[in-house]
């Protein structure tokens, strides 16, 4: 059940997308998300879909695996769509009691739904094809200019990489603790909301204790290897653009041009 959360998980395999520089992938994901909000018409969504489908295909990650992550946001998706469906003012098509379904509402609900699905798919694809370390390296490198205005870029990216690094460990730990308590007859799945909330105590206490212990150990290990922040720190594997990274940048640019031209200017 915990394994269904694929957001922030790395899927190990060989592919062109996996090999790309993390900066390219970050920029691409950002561009893709922006493009979703630029699109005004159906053709635009088709282009976005084709681009996304191509990336998924190239990444060698089974689509099944990506969609499993979708289950986690299914509720959010439905909620967004329902709100948009009923609360958009405009031409009433059907009136159910006090609620009106409008033509604009249907349109907006669909758009929002598609945007959300594309958005999650796009960003899952990035995390699925990039190791957490690479991801934060890329982020740090992209955000470097912000250091000029005293944003602690290195510290933020270090915190992120530690957090990402610990997600799978803590998930595994949660799984083990749940099993250990279930072996003593604990029940996490039935009962009223109150009993269910209370049944989490035997899970959360050991989990927090272990997380604190790990954090402590990690801090100790970093200090004993003389970690003292980002000042003057060099990388063992610095990020260097390869030729395929430039090609990818060109592809992203081409995609953005297509989106703007077909999704926004032409066929309004």
């Amino acid at each position: 059940m915990l394994r269904d959360i694929t957001l922030g998980q790395y899927y190990r395999t060989e592919s062109v997308i996996h090999k790309l520089d993390p900066r390219v992938k970050l920029v691409a994901t950002f561009a893709f998300i922006v493009s979703l909000f630029l699109v005004k018409n159906f053709i635009g969504y088709v282009i976005a879909f084709l681009f996304l489908a191509l990336c998924v295909k190239l990444s060698n990650v089974p689509p099944r695996f990506i969609f499993r992550g979708m289950k986690a946001i299914f509720f959010l998706l439905i909620l967004t769509m329902v709100f948009n469906l009923f609360l958009t003012p405009g031409d009433p098509l059907v009136t159910v009691w006090k609620f009106k379904i409008t033509k604009e509402g249907i349109r907006l609900a669909f758009m929002m739904g598609i945007r959300l699905v594309f958005l999650i798919t796009g960003s899952s694809l990035m995390t699925l094809t990039t190791t957490p370390n690479n991801l934060t390296d890329g982020l740090e490198s992209l955000l470097k200019p912000l250091k000029k205005v005293h944003v602690p870029v290195h510290e933020i990216s270090m915190m992120m990489s530690i957090a990402l690094r610990f997600i799978p460990i803590l998930m595994e730990e949660t799984d083990k603790i749940m099993k250990a308590q279930m072996a003593r007859g604990a029940d996490f799945e039935s009962g009223s909301l109150m009993t269910r909330a209370r049944s989490l105590v035997p899970l959360l206490v050991p989990l927090f204790i272990s997380a604190f212990r790990r954090a402590n150990d990690l801090a100790m290990a970093m200090e004993s290897r003389c970690y003292r922040g980002g000042e003057g720190r060099t990388k063992m594997k610095p990020l260097i653009y390869q030729s395929h990274d430039y090609i990818a940048y060109i592809a992203i640019l081409a995609y953005l041009v297509l989106i703007v031209v077909f999704g926004r200017i032409l066929f309004v």
Binding site: R3, Y11, R12, T13, P62, R64, F65, E173, K176, I177, K179, A180, Q181, M182, A183, R184, G185, A186, D187, V201, P202, V205, P206, I209, S210
Partner: protein
């Protein structure tokens, strides 16, 4: 009360790229009252196997039967099963959560739906069975030493009065004295209560002195299954899969090769001592 495993296969992360089999065609019969050692190298599937026995993990294919009933059948009462087949996990840190030891041990019996008095009675009894000092009863379980934490964890399962007690590496991370204490305790439990005990370990040395039967796992398969002396006779194959027979076995083999008329089937220290004394008398 026997547990029966019928051609059990288990694959972790099925239908992903990380899929790999952890159990391959495992068939076992665990009759009542036996004291069994489950041995295997790291990653051989021991923990996965025992989690099948109380229904925490569902086999990818094959059946697990308890008392002749398939435990993975729809409607089977797994909660009741878990009280009958008690499983103590490797790390006590994974289960201790209450403010004091006594409350923590009460957790299991309370989940069984027993009234408070009865639950406390059982908790008291269980803590006594594992030789836990009264003075620590109301201490936080997090302030205890490794060996004591383990005792509380074992008591937490014993308090449900299981018919089968499974212990996953109960000696991991303990010093030799602590190890001997825990093993002695488990052996005593078996003698006094007569329940079935499955002791998981990756050290032959740990179990050789105590158990009646040894099951050796290797890469998800059951490689050997029999009395200690039968299993140790395969000491060469055991070495190949990263295990070894207890030192006693080697000593006896070498004495035999050196021309002394000892019985090389002696498996425990005690037997070996008597053999050697007999020959040198």
């Amino acid at each position: 009360m026997a547990i029966l495993l019928n051609h059990v296969n288990y694959i972790y992360d099925e239908d992903t790229a990380m899929a790999h089999p952890a159990l391959i065609d495992v068939s076992l019969n665990i009759p009542d009252g036996q004291f069994i050692g489950l041995i295997g190298h790291t990653g051989s599937g021991k923990s996965t196997l025992i989690q099948h026995m109380n229904g925490l993990v569902k086999p990818t294919s094959g059946q697990v039967l308890f008392d002749g009933e398939d435990i993975n059948e729809k409607g089977y009462d797994k909660k009741a099963l878990r009280a009958k087949v008690g499983l103590v996990f490797q790390y006590p840190e994974h289960q201790l959560f209450e403010t004091d030891c006594f409350k923590d041990v009460c957790f299991g019996p309370k989940n069984q739906g027993l009234p408070k008095k009865e639950a406390e009675l059982r908790a008291y009894e269980a803590l006594k069975q594992v030789g836990f000092d009264d003075e620590y009863f109301y201490q936080s379980p997090f302030d205890l030493s490794g060996g004591q934490k383990r005792r509380v964890a074992i008591a937490g399962v014993l308090a449900m009065r299981p018919q089968v007690l499974i212990l996953d590496e109960p000696t991991a991370g303990l010093d030799p004295k602590g190890r001997e204490d825990i093993l002695g305790l488990i052996s005593r439990l078996h003698k006094e209560t007569g329940i079935t005990i499955i002791l998981v370990s990756h050290s032959m040395e740990d179990v050789a002195d105590y158990v009646q039967r040894i099951i050796v796992m290797n890469s998800g398969r059951v490689q050997f299954d029999g009395e200690p002396r039968q299993v140790f006779a395969h000491y060469r194959e055991l070495e190949e899969i990263g295990l070894a027979a207890p030192q006693v076995t080697y000593v006896m083999k070498e004495l035999k090769e050196a021309g002394f008329d000892v019985d090389e089937n002696a498996t425990t220290l005690e037997e070996a001592k008597n053999e050697i004394l007999r020959v040198f008398k």
